[in-house]
């Protein structure tokens, strides 16, 4: 069947997206709709002395100005974090309270202090400007490393020294011993730059309160509407779950930033109850820069020890992770169990120790962003390995090869147990595609033109398919991370698949349909994917952590198994055959070796008419399943990047980028390649262009696209994408997840290529032309001084 697993099927959803017919939250209109705008702090840290809304309230068309004190008095809960981390001394983590609307203090520029509700969006914004807020400014703590220093301003009174937790993983004694005994130690200091997520569609919400039913509906830009409902019900006290429907319609990109329930959505729900109006809020781009959870922002020291055979003997990491002013939903797990568990990478390392300090600063909250912890871990690992190769005088590909894990399953020193992989295969694939052997000639040719050519590697493995519920529960997670699905075969044989996975760019409407098409031999146009509505879909944990394939699709496969079992029983009964003799293909159920068969729609009809079913069989053809993975999945690969740097200007041109991945089974190669292209481009953005900058007072200086550079088509080359395949045995499809790999592997590959080109390793991201040029000048001065 051409629509089945492995087929390069064009996306079903593209018709509406590329014709502008998508339905996003801001496209929707409600009866009785009013608009919200937020009054936000212009200060990074200040006492909130008073709010005077009289001028705003006097404006014709302004409905309400609501403040934090009232929100708290109404019992709306503080915004929580979903994962409890324990410090190395056994103490539970400490984090400051986060009220949706600030009370007593504001703690970052953009902190919401009041919600203004008015008849139009323009009026709401004008009225918000007229609200006078009396602040008493306080000194702000802004720097990731500096916030731990004695005397740094305190962000929250209950978090002494701004230290949220001081966590460790691995074994320090054996690691220190191995480093002391090492024939060679490579050590580097790195900064993983802070990023702004920049989904194409800004966040938006419409909150509706039905007073007669005491029922709430929230349309919102969420990657996980059921999780949003759970939070809003169980923790924020908006309404119990049966009185609250959350709908995430078309959503235009998330990258992690739309996992969380933010102050704005919560305030809109509360305000809809207070005002009796449906309330719409849509973020403008300035608000997005200020309030969408940022990503990364780590300061790291990393040491790697080698024996005389260039085998890695030890890895030691000290990392400080900036979580911002408040601790967002996945913020605490990103630098710990999504980061520290990745320290072994693709390497057989006998001793590993990592220490992670998470800190508060007076900056926007930081949380998971495409890759979440794994890009940070991969960046430092791959930079230290590449640096070591140069110091040891070994080919960087060879140094990786001799240190790769080659026997699976492999138990790392940092919790994870890798099921399958073939890292040598993807390395060889990438080297062949990148024509590494021809690089010296290309370098010489570039040099003749006055250009510096460099080649950089990154090998990576990540824990995707988040996550086995019992395992994450034992590590502090507040939820299970299974997924659910329901497959409904209609009387005419068409199929609806209801999934808890959410599609906001991942192409589920196509790839999930391919599963049913593959199973029953029916066209994907006869399969509809239903997602994003808590009233339609039974439950779901949503889309992040490259989990829709390994976990979401696995739930669909289990539900398809149950449907298939019932189909076989019905057909065997109708055709008077043994179930074992039935073959399902091309939309028919056939008795092998005979001309007896039922068309697919006849099976559906039989199930629903119930005229002739096996004894004791219930009518209908609808099955559900919950799939809880037994392990993470481990996509891996090697990226090779080749650049040319102009030494006069520091401008870097990426001349070749090869990504050789192993995602296990691939459902739709075109979709997977799209995910890789997007991920690699985001990684190139981090490595060369993007970086959130605050001044020393905590003012955001990169608050628009004038100062925050996003990658554009002209900034990236045409990618070469290769696929190895070692299917995981831990899910029905053998699929490993592909959404984050590109963003994980690309920053170190690119930076390693640039540092190779310029002959200096003293380079931090983003490697802008200025940064590259300065590194070149510094390297020249250093040579001159010698």
């Amino acid at each position: 069947m051409s629509d089945g697993i492995g087929a390069r099927v064009k996306r079903k959803e593209d018709k509406r997206f590329i014709t502008g017919k998508g339905k996003y939250t801001d496209d929707l209109r409600q009866e009785n709709q009013a608009y919200a705008a937020f009054v936000r702090s212009p200060h990074a840290h200040a006492k909130l002395l008073g709010i005077n809304a009289s001028e705003a309230l006097a404006m014709d068309g302004v409905i309400a100005v609501l403040e934090g004190g009232e929100l708290n008095a109404d019992g709306i809960g503080n915004i929580i974090t979903g994962w409890a981390i324990t410090s190395k001394d056994g103490e539970p983590m400490k984090c400051g309270a986060w009220s949706a609307l600030a009370v007593e203090k504001v703690r970052y520029v953009g902190d919401a202090v009041a919600i203004v509700v008015a008849e139009t969006q323009a009026l709401a914004r004008i009225a918000a400007e007229a609200v006078e807020v009396d602040y008493e400014e306080l000194p702000a703590s802004v720097s990731t490393a500096g916030t731990l220093e004695p005397g740094a301003p305190q962000v929250h009174d209950n978090v002494p020294g701004n230290l949220i937790y001081d966590w460790e993983i691995g074994d320090e004694a054996s690691t220190d011993a191995n480093i002391a005994a090492a024939a060679h130690v490579t050590e580097i200091d790195l900064v993983n730059n802070r990023l702004s997520p920049n989904a194409m569609e800004p966040r938006s919400a419409i909150a509706i309160h039905d007073e007669a039913e005491d029922h709430y509906t929230l349309y919102t830009t969420s990657q996980n509407p059921h999780v949003a409902r759970l939070l809003l019900s169980a923790f924020y006290n908006v309404a119990p779950e049966h009185k609250l429907r959350v709908i995430a319609p078309d959503v235009g990109g998330g990258f992690g930033s739309k996992i969380y329930v933010y102050p704005e959505e919560l305030s809109c729900l509360w305000a809809s109850m207070k005002t009796g109006r449906s309330i719409k809020w849509t973020s403008d781009r300035s608000e997005a820069f200020l309030t969408d959870a940022h990503g990364r922002d780590n300061v790291t020291n990393i040491k790697m020890g080698f024996d005389e055979n260039n085998r890695i003997t030890a890895l030691k990491i000290h990392n400080t992770a900036n979580l911002g002013a408040y601790v967002s939903l996945f913020a605490t797990v990103t630098p710990t169990y999504l980061h520290g568990t990745n320290y072994s990478g693709v390497y057989d390392i006998p001793a590993i120790y990592g220490n992670v300090k998470a800190v508060h600063t007076n900056t926007t909250p930081v949380d998971a962003y495409r890759g979440a912890g794994r890009p940070e871990a991969t960046y430092m690992l791959e930079r230290v390995v590449e640096t070591a190769a140069r110091e040891l005088g070994v080919d960087p590909g060879e140094l990786r090869r001799i240190n790769y894990i080659k026997d699976f399953p492999y138990q790392t020193q940092v919790i994870l147990n890798y099921d399958t992989g073939d890292y040598v295969a993807t390395l060889d694939m990438a080297r062949a595609s990148a024509d590494v052997a021809g690089f010296p000639a290309r370098k010489a040719e570039a040099a003749a033109r006055g250009k510096l050519r460099g080649l950089g590697y990154a090998s990576f493995v990540e824990a995707s398919g988040i996550a086995p519920s019992a395992a994450v529960g034992s590590l502090g997670a507040g939820v299970g991370l299974w997924e659910s699905a329901e497959v409904r075969v209609n009387p005419v044989g068409t199929i609806e698949i209801l999934t808890g996975s959410h599609s906001h760019g991942q192409s589920h409407e196509t790839t999930f349909a391919q599963l049913a098409s593959d199973r029953f031999g029916i066209p994907i146009d006869n399969v509809q994917i239903v997602h994003g509505d808590t009233d339609k879909v039974q439950f779901g944990m949503g889309t992040y952590g490259s989990r829709s394939g390994p976990v979401g699709m696995s739930a669909v496969m289990r539900a398809l198994d149950k449907v298939e079992a019932k189909v076989r029983k019905i057909a065997a009964h109708t055709l008077e055959a043994s179930e074992d003799d039935l073959v399902i293909e091309n939309g028919e159920v056939k008795v092998a070796g005979t001309d007896k068969k039922m068309a697919w729609h006849e099976v559906g009809l039989a199930a629903y008419t119930g005229h002739n079913l096996p004894p004791d069989m219930e009518p209908g053809l609808k099955e559900g399943a919950f799939f809880d993975p037994v392990n993470f999945a481990f996509p891996a690969g090697t990226f090779i990047c080749e650049v040319e740097v102009d030494p006069e200007t520091g401008v870097t041109d990426i001349v070749q980028f090869v990504a050789a991945d192993d995602f296990g089974t691939i459902i739709n190669p075109m979709v997977v390649e799209g995910q890789v292209h997007g991920g690699v481009t985001q990684g190139i953005g981090q490595a060369m262009l993007e970086g959130v900058v605050y001044d020393e007072d905590g003012q955001l200086l990169t608050g628009s696209y004038m100062d925050y550079a996003m990658p554009r088509a002209a900034d990236v080359p045409s990618f070469v994408v290769e696929h190895g395949c070692t299917p995981t045995p831990n899910n029905p499809l053998g699929i490993k997840g592909c959404g984050e790999a590109g963003a994980i592997g690309s920053p170190p590959a690119l930076i390693n290529a640039i540092t190779d080109a310029i002959g200096s390793n003293d380079l931090q991201m983003p490697a802008t032309p200025l940064a590259v040029w300065q590194a070149l000048q510094a390297a020249k001065s250093a040579v001159a001084a010698e």
Binding site: R40, P42, D697, L700, T702, G703
Partner: protein
């Protein structure tokens, strides 16, 4: 933001000092100044409309004169709030030195901006401030030069 500068004004120090303390002169010379009223011997209330990069806002602020040493020097400090555009605050140390028949006016400014001004206009603050300072002193010099003969 830090800025220093020096301007030669063709007027005696006492006349420059008097003008620097005259709300009417300041109102006429400060670019975008709509109101400026003396609220006490050393305080003024002002409303100024300014455009910095893409941000246009009306700043309402209090200005205070401290360390006043007539006719040599003072520090003028203040804070303006521009609604959602954010805020600007700062201080300028102003010193007058007689130089022949002219006066040398030198100043050191330390200023800070916040909110949308910082998010959108931070790159433009330095150039805008220099432009505004030059505009102020051009107008101020013209004013003194124009009125100089009358005072004499």
């Amino acid at each position: 933001m830090d800025m220093t500068g020096e301007h030669r004004i063709s007027a005696p120090r006492q006349a420059v000092w008097a003008a620097l303390n005259d709300p009417d002169v300041l109102r006429a010379c400060i670019p975008g100044c709509e109101t400026l009223d003396q609220t006490s011997d050393t305080t003024l209330a002002a409303e100024v409309v300014q455009k910095i990069g893409p941000v246009k806002a009306r700043f309402k602020g209090e200005v205070e004169l401290v360390n006043v040493i007539p006719p040599e020097s003072y520090t003028i400090q203040g804070e303006g709030k521009g609604g959602v555009a954010g805020f600007a605050k700062g201080a300028a140390d102003v010193t007058l030195t007689q130089n022949g028949s002219d006066t040398l006016l030198s100043y050191t400014v330390h200023a800070q901006v916040g909110g949308k001004l910082a998010q959108l206009g931070s790159r433009l603050i330095d150039s805008t401030s220099k432009r505004l300072a030059n505009k102020f002193f051009d107008t101020f010099s013209d004013h003194l030069n124009g009125s100089g003969p009358e005072e004499a």
